[in-house]
């Protein structure tokens, strides 16, 4: 099945690099549910710009260092 969004991200790796942060911890800091963080990681949900910025801020990175979009072929 094709994923609903082409937006990719490195949240899972970043959580691991930040002391094995759990999805629940990240969700609490961003203000969404744990299931939404899981859906974003799996490419099942493309977050709003505001949530994407908040996630990036938690890891101290710029938006494009966390999220990516494949170039048009």
């Amino acid at each position: 099945m094709t994923k609903p969004t082409k937006v990719t991200n490195s949240i899972r790796q970043l959580r691991s690099d930040h002391g094995d942060m759990t999805q629940a911890e990240l969700a609490d800091r961003v203000g969404v549910t744990r299931q939404t963080i899981n859906a974003i990681e799996q490419g099942k949900y493309s977050p709003s710009l505001e949530v994407a910025f908040l996630i990036s801020k938690v890891f101290g990175l710029r938006l494009e260092e966390v999220f990516d979009y494949p170039p048009e072929l």
């Binding site: 099945m1 994923k3 609903p4 969004t5 203000g31 969404v32 549910t33 744990r34 299931q35 939404t36 859906a39 799996q42 490419g43 099942k44 949900y45 493309s46 977050p47 709003s48 949530v51």
Partner: protein
């Protein structure tokens, strides 16, 4: 599964059980006598009781199972709800227009009422089913 996804399952269950029961009762009554004489009005009002009861008990159970997540929702839940409601709105409109034509054709009140009810119930069923699909498949 998030609280809102569980809530979707509860509401779908309540709809299927309550209106499934209503459908069976109506079919029995229609089988026994002509539709013009079927006393459907009490049933149509009473069916709301099991609907609300099942939905309420279901929500109490899923809230008690995980109190910290009770009634929590975020932007993903709102987007899923919005997409479900868009489809539901179309079905309600189709039901209302069908009932309008039935009224113009001077069809029995029984059929007009049931066209409206079918539109409302189908809209809810499709709305909440679509939400469940979106929770599983992604948005």
């Amino acid at each position: 599964m998030s609280f809102q996804a569980k809530s979707t399952v509860v509401i779908l269950t309540a709809l299927v059980v309550a209106y499934g029961w209503y459908g069976i009762q109506i079919l029995r009554l229609v089988g026994d006598s002509p539709v013009e004489t079927v006393n459907y009005q009490p049933l149509m009002l009473i069916v709301v009781v099991p609907l609300v009861a099942i939905a309420t008990i279901g929500h109490i159970v899923i809230s008690a199972a995980n109190p910290s997540e009770a009634d929590s929702s975020d932007e993903r839940d709102r987007e899923i709800a919005r997409r479900g409601a868009v489809i539901g709105g179309w079905i309600v409109s189709i039901g209302a227009i069908s009932a309008l034509f039935a009224a113009m054709a001077e069809v029995s009140h029984f059929w007009i009422a049931h066209l409206l009810l079918a539109g409302l119930v189908l809209a809810e069923l499709i709305d909440w089913s679509w939400r469940l699909v979106l929770y599983r498949r992604g948005v």
